[in-house]
């Protein structure tokens, strides 16, 4: 760890102001980044982390403040400016072109050339090599949109790594990665750090923060709350600084267990028999009981999302059956599933969840309205009330319920989408990575909702890449591997290591 007193910061932001219509996103925010350090930016959802990064990288122009890079004042006007200054960025919402191939997404803008032509073959080889460094082995010639979000995230990271830069910025790169991949990423980051690169890292995971960072800047309400050496700040203190008020001493660490509801009845809400789809999912038998949380664990690409999509009718199963309340059903579209009281929160918020230019209120009531039918419009007053209630209950940070959801911070969007389904009062709620990009406190809250909802009789299918989270809330856990279910365990039968063994195909020890 560099000695901050002697080394000059490679990057310094000071007094940054940024105002959006109705929101002061940044108020005198700042940041110092030293060469050869991993610096974590922390703060609650909507604290202004992403905005600060966007100001730094020329996406937004600040209303005031200064940015200094290697001793020189800079005013990046566009992302090209920032890139040419040596700032390489992975943004929070994956910003790649879905129509281009994986390799192209990594190299676009700086293609390897031969004879003044783009060297496609060389590019694919290099891309494969880069991804191999992150232990991703995929067909780099296939379009990016063929791959799930996690892979896209890895591609975005690979792209950033490929750029010769002094400063590397990663805005929540780990939100859709699993533990193993996070570790991989970290080892890459460490080696870059050792080469003298300054790395800015945004995350909501305390574990990860402590695992990798040297220093931490905490942001609160658009301000810089403070800058700390990692070793000098305890977890509780960190959380308190983020939240702004001392929280109860209850540990918020994901490693600690919360008490789950565990009042699962015996009546099956949903049961599948050999539900399958060719090339995507092998026959799966699942049973979800009333009032229970069924966790789905597994590695990336193990078929969890596919299972969820089949259950929800988002994709059509080509064999097997779904039984709800003892009657067999086929779901050709989500409409059918919703009619049976199923809700589904997708993992891909930007493309499958939020309808960006509609307001928070409109996004929130959408599913409920869809279920009621087009003609029976929910009265405006009632819409407002619903929106107000949920915004308050889930603590969504938004200027008003009429602001477009696209202007909310990532975590807050997620809360609104959760509310969209809660408003329909479903019998079974499928949550695919619901806590992605959500701050510690909100995460805790969401987990609490999940358990309390179950107490009220709702069943939940819970998918998350964070094993501890799955272990903590689930009454039962189904582990998936290679697109099929390979084991079912009750609460307490498994701990983190044993799950990992199952996932790896070694069985419970």
């Amino acid at each position: 760890m560099p000695d901050c007193a002697k080394v000059v910061p490679v990057l310094e932001m000071a007094g940054i102001h940024k105002q959006f219509p109705g929101v002061k996103a940044l108020l005198d925010a700042g940041l110092r980044l030293y060469p050869g350090e991993v610096h974590t930016l922390m703060g609650q959802n909507g604290a202004g982390k992403s905005t600060l990064i966007k100001v730094l990288t020329g996406v937004y122009q600040p209303d005031g403040g200064t940015i200094t890079l290697a001793g020189k004042r800079i005013e990046p006007r566009s992302t090209q400016d920032a890139q040419s200054l040596g700032i390489s960025t992975v943004y929070q919402e994956v910003n790649l072109c879905p129509n281009l191939s994986v390799a192209e997404n990594i190299f676009i803008g700086r293609y390897p050339r031969r004879l003044r032509m783009i060297d496609w073959r060389g590019m694919r080889q290099q891309a494969a090599k880069l991804l191999a460094r992150l232990q991703v082995d995929i067909d780099v010639a296939a379009p990016l949109s063929n791959y799930p979000l996690a892979i896209q995230q890895m591609v975005a990271i690979a792209r950033a790594l490929n750029i010769e830069s002094r400063v590397l910025i990663l805005d929540e790169p780990t939100s859709s990665l699993d533990e193993a991949e996070v570790q991989l990423l970290f080892s890459v980051l460490r080696s870059l750090r050792d080469q003298g690169m300054a790395i800015l890292f945004v995350t909501h995971f305390l574990d990860q923060t402590y695992a990798i960072s040297d220093r931490i800047t905490v942001m609160r309400n658009g301000e810089r709350e403070g800058e700390y050496a990692c070793s000098e700040l305890s977890r509780l203190a960190l959380v308190n600084k983020m939240v702004g008020a001392p929280t109860e001493a209850r540990p918020l660490d994901s490693a600690d267990e919360a008490v789950a509801a565990s009042n699962a009845g015996d009546a099956a809400v949903l049961r599948t028999r050999a539900l399958a789809r060719k090339g995507v999912l092998q026959p799966v038998d699942l049973t979800v009981k009333r009032g229970e949380v069924l966790g789905l664990a597994g590695l990336l690409g193990s078929g969890r999302t596919e299972t969820a999509r089949l259950l929800f009718g988002a994709d059509k199963a080509d064999s097997g059956s779904i039984e709800i309340g003892g009657r067999e059903r086929t779901f050709a579209t989500p409409v059918d599933a919703i009619a049976q009281g199923i809700g589904f929160c997708s993992e891909d918020r930007k493309h499958e969840g939020a309808i960006l230019s509609l307001s928070v209120r409109e996004n929130l009531i959408l599913a409920l309205q869809a279920r009621q039918g087009v003609l029976r419009a929910i009265p405006f007053k009632r819409q407002q009330q619903l929106a107000d209630d949920y915004v308050k209950w889930l603590g969504v940070r938004t200027a008003s319920i009429e602001t477009p959801i696209g202007t909310l911070s990532g975590g807050n969007q997620q809360k609104v989408l959760l509310a969209r389904w809660l408003a329909t009062d479903p019998k079974l709620m499928i949550l695919d990575e619901p806590t992605r990009g959500i701050d510690v406190r909100a995460k805790q809250e969401i987990m609490d909702y999940v358990t309390s909802l179950c107490r009220k009789g709702m069943s939940i299918l819970f998918i998350s890449s964070e094993l501890p989270e799955v272990l903590r809330v689930s009454d039962r856990i189904v582990v998936m591997r290679d697109r099929k279910a390979c084991g079912e365990y009750r609460r307490g039968e498994l701990d983190e290591t044993s799950v990992l063994h199952v996932i790896a195909g070694e069985g419970v020890q």
């Binding site: 102001h17 005198d28 988002a314 969840g353 309808i355 960006l356 509609l358 599913a367 087009v374 003609l375």
Partner: protein, 357 residues
């Protein structure tokens, strides 16, 4: 931690000033302003432009003319707005206009019997039946488009291109390429009659507009159409019947075009399958965009489209009235479209403000 002092007041003052002129930021302000400017030019350049008089018990004057002429365009633009809101486009409206007008004219038909120089009119089919058949034909066209777009998932522009080409062919087939003249007085009421001193066509437009607006506001249709237009994938996952919605908007658009066809036919007392509604689709799309609706789908404004249609018709009328030589018509139209749309862009406002500051 060094913190730069920042004078927050200077940043806030203009914002406060802006609050008072909030109507300037209303999305409809700029289309309306463009129309107003156009009318103002007319006021100075064309004597008696705003003059209205009562003739034969109804209002008569340039303004009445403009709204009367704009009626088919306004109807087409209403339907087109919804199609565009779902990210679609319908270039077959002109053909549908021709088709519905032809069906009505052929069914009503009639012959002129001249008795001592006094013409008498006879209809072939009862008028309500003929009108129903014409609208039915339009609905069929819409269903066809809807099927191709929502069912077969063809790209809207090619899907409707098929009907654009074939629809007019069908209309010509029915009439053998002849202009079908209608000799039946009651039919003329639709496109040429007056009620309470105002053109009947205006009431039709108003009725369709109000029904559409109510449908959008009082039911969830408006919300759903926007949702489908902005993010079809997310909309489907939220439980919307996206295909049904898309099917509906094409049917609705064709119905509007069908009604427009009836007005056109009734107004010139004949159905001209060759030329009725020719290029109306372009004007309708132009009206929608001038009204501030994006062709990328999503948010839409029905009122905006109405204003857009009025801008186009006022412009056409102005060109005719000012005595612009016909060979310059297009250039004038182009320049005005450029000016109006540039003046509507946010960037223009910035430039303007910077100059003013």
């Amino acid at each position: 931690m060094s913190v730069h002092a920042h004078d927050a007041r200077t940043a806030l003052e203009p914002a406060a000033a802006k609050e008072r002129l909030v109507f300037l930021r209303h999305p409809l302000f700029r289309p309306a302003a463009a129309l107003a400017v156009l009318l103002l030019i007319d006021f100075f350049a064309i004597p008696g432009f705003f003059h209205l008089e009562i003739k034969d018990g109804h209002l008569y004057g340039s303004l009445i003319n403009i709204v009367n002429r704009a009626a088919p365009l306004m109807l087409a633009a209403l339907g087109m707005t919804l199609v565009i809101a779902t990210r679609g486009i319908d270039i077959s409206v002109g053909a549908v206009v021709a088709l519905s007008g032809t069906v009505a004219a052929m069914l009503i038909g009639g012959t002129m019997v001249v008795n001592d120089g006094v013409p008498e009119y006879v209809s072939q089919t009862p008028m309500p039946l003929a009108l129903a058949a014409a609208l039915g034909a339009a609905l069929l066209c819409g269903a066809w488009n809807g099927l191709l777009v929502a069912g077969f998932k063809l790209q809207p522009i090619v899907a409707t291109l098929i009907l654009m080409v074939a629809g007019r062919g069908l209309a010509q087939l029915f009439t053998d390429g002849q202009i079908v003249t209608v000799y039946y007085k009651p039919f003329f009421f639709l496109g040429g009659g007056y009620m309470l001193g105002l053109p009947v066509a205006l009431f039709l437009v108003a009725a369709v507009f109000i029904i559409t607006a109510l449908l959008m506001k009082k039911t969830a249709l408006g919300l759903f159409i926007q949702a489908v237009g902005i993010n079809p994938v997310a909309a489907r996952l939220a439980g919307l019947r996206t295909a049904t919605l898309i099917f509906f908007v094409y049917v609705f658009c064709a119905a509007c075009a069908g009604l427009a066809g009836l007005i056109v036919t009734s107004n010139i007392k004949s159905a001209d399958a060759n030329n009725a509604g020719l290029l109306l689709e372009l004007d309708a799309i132009l009206a929608v965009t001038l009204g501030g609706t994006s062709l990328a789908g999503g948010k839409f404004s029905l009122v905006g489209s109405m204003i857009g249609a009025l801008i186009i018709q006022t412009l056409t009328y102005t060109i005719y009235s000012l005595g612009v030589p016909p060979e310059v018509n297009m250039v004038v139209k182009a320049v005005v479209v450029f000016l109006v749309s540039i003046s509507q862009s946010a960037q223009f406002k910035h430039l303007w403000q910077r100059r003013a500051a």
